[in-house]
Symmetry: C4
Subunit: 277 residues, 4 copies
């Protein structure tokens, strides 16, 4: 959907996902750090599992909504691929976007399986998430032929975030539970989300004044703007991290101390998922 | 062999190899996981060795068949390199394909040596497999000069799978026995195999209608199609993994419990190859 | 500031920082190595913390000075971004440089927080330093459109040092306390600093004679010159390393032996920061 | 020296170095593997140190010979850089080659220091070797402007070996003593050496017939030829590895068994260098 809404929809998905990841990972990390003070009870293994399953289900739903929107809204191809009367492919742009959503749907579905059963190693969810981001970047890369200079630039900038996310997910396959990688992933996801909105405003400005698609100064400004989005995403993630951390700490302080007799047997149960990896 | 068969032959080789790898690695992984339940008996070290030797022998034969086919079928160069009468190189395309097969033959031969003797570390087989894939990608990269846009594109897309496989093999040198890397390798091998078939259909369509080699819409469709092949390969590998896993589990359940007296001495023997690395 | 001073200012910042890093890391490394001989007392954990906080504060001040200089000196934009009367962006070059300084300021601020509190893992300082270098390289990359050949070349060469530093910082997130990475980082920082001065001399020569911006021989010389700067930076770092090492050794030898009764309890306290990571 | 000899000289250096590395690493590896059988006595720590110092001294001498040859033979610049009368740089090609040799000389000198004293970690020798290879590749990359197609191609192919060696050296900083990396480094060094000879034959053929520098078939043949050089280098390294291994084994078998009383105290001394890393 070459339209403002077609950029705002995935932008919002990524913004929400990024904020969620920043919150979730900060919570799990601070629960792990304050475990000796009893915070383990805040994030038992069962809770973690439930969180992961919920996340996977939401990603799956988002992706299916996105896929259907691309196929049926605003003159989508409605699952027709080839129009044999005119001998032309039908709406390949929408098919490309659908395929991007498809890989996130696969990633969500497999994550759901991994966390609700025990048939595959946990790290599989990150590998498929990485593959979904890689696939998104790959399609964007072959998506830009014959467009205007500024249009190409704003999409190329997007690729830094997208391939960055793919790389971090693959690193997480080997370094699972590294809070820095997790927060960087959240940051890049927020960057991608807010940049989708920015792209929408640049390509389909709500005001009358259009951007000059060939002006070099506009290109320079857009590059700068991308850096500011990154700084903004860093700020958001820091704020989320600090507030979650202080919430957990104040909660831990207000918790009644566990009786010693209960501590030992429960300790086993509250082991974080990452440790049983 | 610039022909349909010249693409179908390696395509079939890679499809079979990919399916075999998906099955083998799933089997070894589930045997390792269910070892305490007695599944170790399914994959003793001797069995593993025999499987690896069988695999290496098959790869070696496939490669030699491919090399001979390139040299002797359909007007191949028959091991002549330079025609001094016309002062021209003989059939360099066939020589390039022969060289690709040569490196897989080297990889097979060395893997045979590694697994039937103990003169070299096990990880050598993966390093040479990675080198063979890298060499294949390297030759494809310098193979495309002066062709049509769509022809270049379909071969460029192949390179993502080929260099991906090379990278994964090199990672396996350091992370041997990581099931995720092994399944990803199988997935990319199936992708490469099915994409070879697709390339054959695009460049040498069996029907009368030829593809327009310069149409941008065809290029977009081909890129999309590549992603669907990847999704399809993921599906195949998941199905193979799940069926092998449930087979092993049901077999383990039906196995008579070992007598305790026998358990200890045999335990030694059944150690998986990966553990003695 | 497209001027000699605009290159000399960051050049000096980087030279000072590089020398400081070479000295600091050599000192901490040799204190760690000679710990059994009592050198641990030279670098207690509290001292290390104070050094890191001092460093972070200096980086933060440098960055703010740089940012203000770009905004207010030599006709800077004075924080105006868009001139709506002429409908043009204001001085985007200065804004780009300010943004580069901004990310170093963020990195300094976060490093200050990490080392003066315990809310985040130590490795965060390296990750944000890496991000600041990456951002610098990224902006330089999109900074070169439409310039002369030699101008592009000298800035491209800079990118090798900048992206090299970013890569090393990211590696240090996983391999903290590796003296080789730390010295390589110091070397590349000195290289970047001295190269900034060289760029100033090439683009704005103090003498009358200007460089021919399109001469291929000049390009070849500049590339060579870059290698000599690297060799020079290696030399400087070696000299700093060796003198710091011999200083620490001679100091250790002159230290009165600690009484055994005191040794055990203090041992705990003098643990290096890297070991408690 | 744009001449046959200017390619044969470094080619021979690299061939000798590659063979030496293949032999040395195979010997150390097999001594380590057969240690329990007494092969440790073949490679005591003192012997290893002497081997490394010998190697570093040879690399240093080779580099200085190469540097002097570039400066003084065949009309070299004799350490003059700028001819102020004609306002031209003097012989920049020779200066580039001298700079390549310079970095190998630095690497040799530092390796000498590292192995004859204990002031720096062992891995420093590999890091500077990696830097020397990287610098060689970097200068070749900016060395090719305005040449013929085939000339550019043969030098570009060289870069695969050169940057491959740089990468492996950097990996060895973190995975020291990995026999696979060491043999791969030897293989690529032999490849680089034999390819230098090949480049000499292509660009300055001894016969009357010159190669057509713009023929696409020649380009295809040259790419193929590069792969065959790689296969040949793999063969050489395998032969060296197998013969060294069988030599060590036969020697170990013929050694008189050590008396048990002597075994324990000497065991300490014969620890391989890699283990005390």
């Amino acid at each position: 959907m070459g339209s403002f809404k077609g950029h705002a929809l995935p932008g919002s998905f990524f913004l929400i996902t990024g904020l969620w990841w920043a919150g979730k990972q900060s919570f799990l990390y601070s629960a792990r750090k304050n475990k000796s003070a009893g915070a383990g009870r805040l994030a038992t293994r069962a809770t973690q599992r439930r969180i992961e399953i919920f996340e996977a289900a939401v990603i799956l739903s988002f992706s299916i909504i996105g896929m259907l929107a691309e196929q049926f809204l605003a003159g989508g191809p409605k699952f027709h691929l080839y129009d044999s009367s005119s001998q032309r492919w039908e709406q390949l742009m929408n098919w490309q976007h659908s395929t991007m959503y498809l890989f996130f749907a696969i990633s969500g579905a497999i994550s759901l399986t991994v966390h609700s059963t025990d048939i595959a190693p946990l790290a599989l969810d990150r590998m498929l998430l990485g593959l979904a981001f890689f696939n998104e970047g790959f399609l964007f890369l072959y998506h830009l032929h014959g467009r205007d200079m500024l249009d190409i630039l704003v999409h190329t900038l997007l690729l830094y975030a997208v391939f960055g996310q793919a790389l971090i997910c693959f690193l997480e396959v080997f370094h699972r539970g590294n809070i820095l990688l997790e927060l960087l992933r959240a940051t890049l996801t927020i960057l991608q989300g807010s940049w989708f909105w920015q792209v929408g405003f640049v390509l389909y400005p709500p005001s009358e004044v259009k951007w000059d698609m060939k002006d070099h100064d506009n290109a320079m400004f857009v590059t700068l703007c991308y850096c500011w989005h990154l700084a903004f995403a860093l700020l958001i993630v820091s704020v989320v991290y600090c507030s979650v951390l202080s919430c957990v700490r104040s909660k831990v302080r207000r918790m009644p101390p566990m009786e010693m007799g209960l501590l030992k047997p429960r300790e086993k149960e509250v082991e974080s998922e990452d440790e049983i990896l």
